[in-house]
Amino acid sequence: MSFWRRVACAVLLLVVAVSLGASSLAPAGYAKQDREAAGAPPSHAHWLGTDEIGRDRFARVLYGTRISLFLAPAAALISTLLAALVGGLAGYLGGAWARAAMAITDLFLSLPWLFLLITVRALLPLNVSPAFSVLVTFLILGLLGWTAAARVLCATGGSLRNTDFVRQARASGIRGTRLFWIHVLPNMKPVLYAQFWISIPAFILSEANLGILGLGVAEPLPSWGSLLKELEGLVSVGEEPWKFVPLLLLVIVVTSFQLVLSKQDEVAA
């Protein structure tokens, strides 16, 4: 393992550990409002200052990290499974199935998602409960993010169809569905793992994008997306540098992920 990959691993572990320790590191919590000190700069009581309605920014960053770092792998899991089912199965079946699956993924890739998402958000009630918003964000990410992985898995499925062991299993009279679940799917595991890990940083960024648009996790729950929203009203960069901490953290985590994965890709490929 190279030096930089080790550093990246350590950084990721540190971020995860600190975010898990949020309740003891920032006992004030992410929702408690300190009206006396709204919009305050960093101080001994509030290390990163407070937001417009007096909530401790340090606590919100920690809890936001926790949510973002939970959402991204969860969405990666659902999108990888979808990709395996749609792409892998269609590729394994081949012929018209594979062509249909590729047509659907093409369609998915070409839809104006931003527009659709804003429409969907507009259709939802204004004040959805925070838990529900987390679920919706997770589903949106997972359901939209599966197409790239599906293409890869379709190719994998196609190459597995023509292997000797699949022919041998078919000649043993094993049923089609069982053949796929028991004999084909386990052979997709290396590709599935690679796709899972690769999509995590992508989903972290997507969640941030949704958050900035106000489509992500709902108040008062923080996430990197909703924390970045604060930067909207910022007049000058030099004025309140502590407001950039969530952005810095996002960049550091995504970069670390890419660094850690850069080698794994080569192994999986």
Partner: protein, 282 residues
Amino acid sequence: MFRNDRVLTDKSQRDALLSAHLSVQYGNKPPVLRGVQLDIQHGEVLGLIGQSGSGKSTLAMAILGLIDRKRVDAQGSIFFEGSDLLTLREAALRSLRGRKIALVLQSPLSSLNPALKIRTQLRETWRAHASGSSADCDSTIRKALESVSLPSDDDFLRKYPAQMSVGQAQRVLIAMAVVHRPALLIADEATSALDVITQAEILKLFRELNQNFGMAILYISHDLASVAGICDRVAILHQGEIVEFGNTQKVLTSPSHEYTQRLLAAMPRMPQASFAAKAAAR
């Protein structure tokens, strides 16, 4: 009685375990099999010899119903136990595969699933045609492994294909093929990828399985010399047609077709024998 006449008698066809009359064409390409006539008798070892690309595997796949009927044109009939395999529905074919007609492929390590333990693969093969407790399953699996002289302990069953030698892997494949004691075993180049010693062992094993279980074997190979020893009869496939079909001894000693004669002339001789021949000539 030698059966090297090209037209099968009514009786041999009725008594045969399998009798095929088959033409196969992939898409618009020239036909791969052209009116191939073949019968396999109960309990015999029939060798099917032909060079690579002559259509041997195509015949095997046609018998197993594993050729894609939508894209491949297969004409004729393959009678097996009273029904024509070419007209059977997929469900009926599936119930024959592995239970009545089993297959062993050429390269043992790629024919076993690299991601599954030996136990899982054997269990899957059993479950395809049997239901019962896992104790029933395990005892059948162990018997199958013992019949191919493999260990049947848990340590062995926990192995993955990559942890075995090629010879062991080939035996596992054969064990999978005999789990349901099929009436017909198709060995498609099953020993071609093995070194000569392992090859001899596996051929002996096929012979034993044939004698102990009374299982007929269709032994497919490109190499007449290596399989002549275990075959009761051989069929020589050349350019999509059976050019010679009969008792092994007769084909070896008095081949009638020019292709068979060339095939025999190309067979390797023992060095001593050719030495002796040269010495005698001098």
